[in-house]
Each structure stands twice: as C-alpha cells, then as structure tokens.
C-alpha cells in the first residue's frame, strides 16, 4: 500500500478531517432506525448548491460532473447515521435561511443571491471550526462538493489532467501558471 497517503491526513480544503472517511479510532457504527432519504427537491437543491460552489466556467462545473447525485450516494452509504442526520437537517436549514434572507427557495434565487448566501454559510462554517465547534453542515457540503467534483471523470480529466498510463517518470518538468494539476499523484 502507498503509505505516503498517511501524510495526507488533513482534510479536504476545509481544515477538518474528511467526514465519512476512514476514522483513526475504531467506532461503533449503529444501524439507523429511520433511514433518511433524499427527495427530488433535495436533489435539485444539491445540484444548485454544488454548482454555486464550483460553477461551470471555461471548464465544467459541479452540475456537469453530477456531483449532487454522487453526494446522495456518499451520504447514504458512507456517512454514519448521526452524520446523515446533520446533513439532512442542514438542507432544511439552508432552505430556511434562503427564505428568511431572500424570500424564496434557493433554486428561485438569482445567481448573485445564491453566491452571497453560500459565501455567508462558508464564513459561518469556518468560524464554527475555528472556535472548535462541531462540524457545520456546510463543511460537509463543501467537502463533498470538492471531493465529488475533483474525483469525477469530468473534474479529473477536464478541470484537472490525467494520463492513465504515463509510461515514464520525469521528476522535473517545466510548469507554467494556469496549467491544470494532475488528478492523482
């Protein structure tokens, strides 16, 4: 196995260990009594939120990479019941904030309003982490958006670069700013 992975234990761009990833301590996973499921409205919300976090530009965005669908699978299968509950409650909170601050569902907001709300949530999530609090639901959403996008085929080959069979190793090639990073090391 590649033990270099050990050195990459810090979390995904969010300053906190990856939620739903391998835990370092043995935990007791309890079976969930009432399985939480995603509705069609949830799916639309996730599509809109992820696209706001990673929008299509000259390269594809989260919607192109179907990050919302991936997120549902990941939360269902890889999150603990408690983490799932936090995630689902977070989606309700997000819609409530949207209604309170902008008078409508997230999907009905303009692109600018969406970005403003997501930026606010991002700041709040960072503050919550900095103060040592529990993981904010938006931290989960952001982690899974980045993870889902950059490990997708669209993200890995169109935003990033991937050569399936390099055939050689060159430890010192020139790099110009703007060139995409490799999808994997």
């Amino acid at each position: 196995m590649n033990r270099r992975e050990l050195l990459r234990m810090i979390g995904l761009a969010t300053g906190v260990a990856f939620i739903g990833g391998n835990t370092l301590l043995a935990g007791c996973a309890t079976s969930s009594s009432a399985a939480l499921t995603f509705s069609a409205a949830d799916a639309e919300l996730l599509d809109a939120v992820t696209e706001t976090i990673l929008p299509r530009t000259d390269t594809p965005g989260a919607r192109d990479a179907e990050v919302g669908s991936f997120m549902q699978i990941f939360v269902n299968d890889c999150y603990s019941p408690a983490e799932q509950a936090t995630f689902h409650a977070g989606l309700l909170q997000l819609e409530r904030r949207s209604a309170e601050e902008y008078g409508g569902k997230f999907n009905s907001l303009t692109a600018e309003q969406r970005l403003a709300l997501i930026n606010t949530l991002d700041s709040e999530a960072r503050q919550q982490l900095a103060s040592g609090g529990e993981a904010h639901y938006f931290t989960m959403i952001k982690q899974l958006t980045l993870f889902g996008f950059f490990t997708s085929e669209v993200g890995g080959t169109q935003a990033l670069r991937h050569v399936p069979v390099p055939g050689r190793f060159d430890g010192c090639v020139s790099y110009e700013e703007g060139q995409p990073a490799w999808a994997t090391q």
Binding site: M1, I53, P55, P164, G171, Y175, A181, W182, A183
Partner: protein
C-alpha cells in the same frame, strides 16, 4: 481420508512461500503449494487494475457496510473500494485482542505480495550483531556474510530499483536503475548532505519495481501509474503472481492447491520428523492428509506459528517448537506513523510527469559508531515531495469560480516523511492460542498480547524531532512534526514468533530455519526473525528462504532429513 505424497510441501503462497515453491521446484522436487484462500490469476483476476477513482461508486472510500464488516481494517487507510476482497474476512477468521493489535491479512494466492509496500533493503552486518553486542534477547545464528550472496541472488531475480550508496549500515545490492527523485527532493538531498557533513543521506527508495523489462519472466518495466496494490497488469512489481509462481509452474513440478487450510504439521515422534500436513478444505470442510519429505511453513509469521502451536501437541502441550519456551513470543513489528512535513519555497515553475510507486529514503543515522542515545537501535524515514493537489486548504478563497480555478492548479511544494523504527524482541510480547474462540472452521484462534515498550517510546521522540530538524536544516519552511499514533500490527511487518538461534533451549529454529525438534520443517517467513532491524523485512525473507531451500535440498540428498 485421502492421502497424497510430494517431495516437499509449502504452506502459504505469499512472498516467502512463492520463493520456496520456485526454488524447490527448480531443484527438481515435486512440490505441493497450499494456500488457505482463493486463487488470483496473474492479470486476469486483477479486476480493478484499470479502474480510475471515478469508476468506484464511492470514489474508493469505505462505506458504512464495509466498516461494519471490517472492524479492524477500518482503523487504518487500507480499507477502500479498490482493494476490497483482498483482505481476510474478519467474521470468518476472528482473533482476540488482549491488547489492541491491527492484523492485516491477505488470504488468497499471492498473499500480501500483491499488496506490499515493495521497499526492499538489506539488513546490515550491524543488524545481525546487535542482539549479541547489546545483550538483548539472543544472538542471531547467522551473520551478514551468510545471507549476502542470497540477497544478491533474490535481488537479481525479483528486480530491485535502487542506487549504490556505499553505506556500511545499508548495504548496496544488485540494483536496477533507481526511480528518479524529483527536483525538490534532489535539492533537499543536497542540502541535507551539506548540513550534516555527509553523515545523513536522502537517497532513492529501494523498491521491488522494475525499471527495466524482464522478458525472461514476461514482465514489463514500471509504467508509473502508481496502482501497484491493484495487481500490476505489466508485472512491474515483484509478487508471487508476477515472478515466483510462473517460474515454479514452468518446471512442471508444482501443484497449487487453493482453499487449503493447514491445521497441523503431522509429526512422527519416533523419527523426530514431520510426515506431512493435515488440511481442511476451506470450501468442502473435508480433511485431507498430504505427506512429504520436507515441509516449508510460509503462512505469514503468526499463522506459521499458529500451525506449529497446533502440531505435535501429544508430545509438547504448546506444540511443535514450544520446547524452547519461545514459540509465539518476541513479537516484533516496525513502529511508525511519526515524522514531519513542511513547505518548500520556490520551484513554482517545476512539476513532474508520471506517478511514482516510490519516493525517498533516509537511512538510519542514530546510534551508529559511538553514539548512544537514551534508546538502542534506530529508524529510517520514507517520504516524498510533491505539489499539493485539489485537497489542499486554501484559506483565502471561499467558493465559486475562483476556488475552482485555484484548486485546478497545483499548489505549493510540500515534503513529508514518516519514520520506521526498530522494535526490540521482548519475551512478553506474545501471541497464544485462545481455544474459547473458534473460526468458521471450528479452529482455535490467536490472541494478541503485544505492546510498545520503553525503548520504542524513547525512540519515537527522536523519530519526530529528527524529522523536524532534518527538514529545517534543508531549508523547508512551516515544518510540523507529528505523531499520528501507532498500535502494534499497523506496520504490517509481524515478526519473531519462531525465532532463529544457536540453542534449542532459547530458539525455535536453527541457523538454516529448521525447527530444532523437527529438522525437516523449515520456517522462512517473518516468524524466523531474531531481531527486526529498522528496514522493511520482505527482502530478507526472500533471501533466507532461498538459502534454506538450498540447504534443505543438500540435506535431503545426504539423507539427513528423513
């Protein structure tokens, strides 16, 4: 009960078992190779070898269901989607943790040779002498010179990429060209050399990945995909499947029998020799008896020991080899997961092409010559420098197009390394049979009673501090030392439970890996190790196995083994 006879039986098909099968069959013996798990055919059965991360539904992360099924495996990084099915079933094959012990087992043809880290270093003259010099445990019955020609032999065949360094405490070998360091690593190497007056070295890691083709073995050189643990369709790293099994098959002398759990060595107490082994077919539960003139136990350290504990119990209650009082004792691993990382300024205009299955190595530099730290022995570092990827923390960018743009480009260069430290043999670090717990086949299981002790804990302080100091001396910035915590077993280098020695009263095996109480039984996996050194052990198992087979066949011809 059906009966079958072979010249030799090899139990276990991992790194050492594959070598035993190759050497025995090439010397003309008819060999039965027994493997407790399923068969995995080279290339054909590497089902995930061509998959990318996006081909896995959870992008290679473990699901809750996987974690529930693998309560031990999920403690570390090894539980993932792409190597599912390559680890022992924890429900079928439980064990008892008197103290926490992470036991990562590969129950299939090839064993952990398909999954190993491939770092391949020789033990040094100093390693073979350390126990005697320091009065720790018992002396090795052999010296470096006894093994050196066998290191040469196995390195040439397996294919080890590495560089000649001329270091007495990390002997050079028969290497293929090394896998290149990247420009930052080269620079850090030069700065370390300068800062320490040539006394500390950052060198190429020595790995069992071939950098030139081996057409005689049907193996293509490394393609730099860094997907070794999925099974290499190019045969570019050494495994049973890519290297030793095809050679053994080619002789026409090998019979491979998967799904064969060896329950005991059959012992003839009048002749003081093994007659063969008893096998339970893992699928049919039927019991078979196979006889042979010589038996090689290569079932991995703990399972070879388990077989001995279950053998000849009518003569010795504790099993074959227990007359020494040392069977199951002196468990060693390599303690690690402590080191440092930092940022390397500059090199923004440099990157790399291809994905290396390797990195750098910093050989042991502590307690050499006259130095005496507050612990004995030492440690080496494995590490790499790379540019950060999309999973880096970008404090200044929140969300949106800027975030995507920023994370789509490589980040700053970082360098990190973790130490691998020698663990001392301690009599009280032991495994034993717990008959109150049985596995799927009704067999008693092992209990683990192992802990890190004072010497390891004292060493860990240096393992972290020295890593910080080395990186800072090389001009690395924002250096952070860390101890990520270690539990015995995590190194996946179990050793020592049937150690070699000079005296049957204090050791299980003699200087040719023969069980003192049954000289036609050889144990040449990690169980035989008298001390651990700080280097990765598999290359030594290969060399000791080839050496033991050579001895076994000579003795068979002389008629001393039957």
């Amino acid at each position: 009960m059906s009966k079958h006879h072979y010249d030799a039986i090899v139990v276990g098909s991992g790194i050492s078992g594959g070598w035993a099968a190759k050497e025995l069959t090439e010397k003309g013996l008819k060999v039965l190779l027994l493997e407790r798990g399923r068969n995995i055919e080279h290339i054909k059965d590497y089902t995930n070898a061509h998959k990318e991360v996006w081909d896995h539904p959870h992008r290679n992360r473990p699901t809750q269901e996987m974690k529930d099924k693998h309560p031990v495996l999920q403690r570390d990084f090894v539980l993932n989607e792409e190597t599912q099915g390559m680890w022992a079933n924890e429900q079928d094959s439980p064990y008892v943790e008197e103290k926490r012990f992470d036991w990562y087992r590969g129950y299939h043809v090839g064993g952990r040779s398909l999954l190993w880290g491939r770092h391949s270093y020789r033990l040094s003259p100093m390693d073979f002498e350390a126990n005697a010099r320091e009065g720790i445990a018992i002396d090795w019955p052999i010296r470096y010179e006894d093994v050196a020609p066998w290191y040469d032999y196995v390195e040439r065949y397996a294919g080890i990429a590495g560089s000649l360094e001329g270091l007495p405490h990390l002997p050079d070998g028969q290497f293929l060209p090394p896998i290149e360091l990247n420009c930052v690593e080269k620079d850090v190497a030069a700065r370390i050399k300068k800062a320490y007056g040539g006394k500390r070295h950052l060198i190429h890691s020595r790995v069992a990945n071939i950098t030139q083709p081996k057409p005689e073995q049907g193996r293509v050189n490394c393609q730099y995909r860094n997907k070794c643990w999925l099974g290499c369709p190019y045969g570019a790293y050494f495994s049973t499947q890519s290297s030793t099994l095809p050679a053994a098959m080619k002789t026409g002398n090998l019979t491979l029998r998967p799904f064969s759990i060896v329950t005991q060595v059959l012992y003839d107490k009048d002749k003081k020799r093994a007659r063969g082994v008893e096998v339970i077919d893992a699928e049919t539960q039927l019991t078979y008896e196979y006889t042979a003139d010589v038996v090689f136990l290569n079932a991995s350290s703990f399972n070879s020991t388990w077989i001995l504990m279950n053998s000849a119990t009518d003569v010795w209650q504790g099993g074959l080899g227990s007359s020494s009082g040392e069977l199951g004792h002196n468990v060693m691993d390599h303690h690690f997961r402590v080191g440092a990382s930092g940022t390397v300024e500059g090199y923004e205009d440099k990157y790399y092409f291809g994905r290396r299955p390797a990195g750098f190595y910093i050989p042991r530099f502590r307690n050499l010559g006259n130095e005496q730290r507050n612990y004995v022995r030492g440690f080496g570092y494995q590490g790499a420098a790379s540019r950060q990827g999309w999973d880096r923390h970008v404090a200044e960018v929140g969300v949106g197009a800027d975030l995507k743009h920023s994370l789509s480009q490589p980040g700053p260069w970082t360098i990190g390394m973790t130490a691998f430290g020698e663990m001392l043999p301690h009599h009280d670090n032991r495994i034993y049979l717990d008959k109150s717990v049985t596995d799927k086949w009704g067999l008693p299981v092992l209990a683990m009673d192992v802990e890190v002790r004072e010497n390891e804990l004292a060493m860990r302080h240096d393992m972290q501090q020295d890593a910080v100091e080395l990186l800072e001396a090389a001009g690395v910035t924002q250096v952070h030392g860390s101890d990520w915590g270690y539990s015995p077993g995590m190194g996946i280098h179990e050793m020592g439970t049937a150690r070699m020695g000079r005296d049957p009263k204090t050791s299980v095996l003699n200087g040719f890996n023969q069980v003192w109480d049954a000289p036609n039984v050889f144990v040449t996996d990690g169980a035989c190790m008298t001390s651990a050194s700080c280097v990765n052990p598999s290359l030594t198992y290969m060399a000791l196995t080839a050496r033991a087979v050579d001895h076994a066949v000579k003795e068979l011809k002389k008629g001393t083994l039957v």
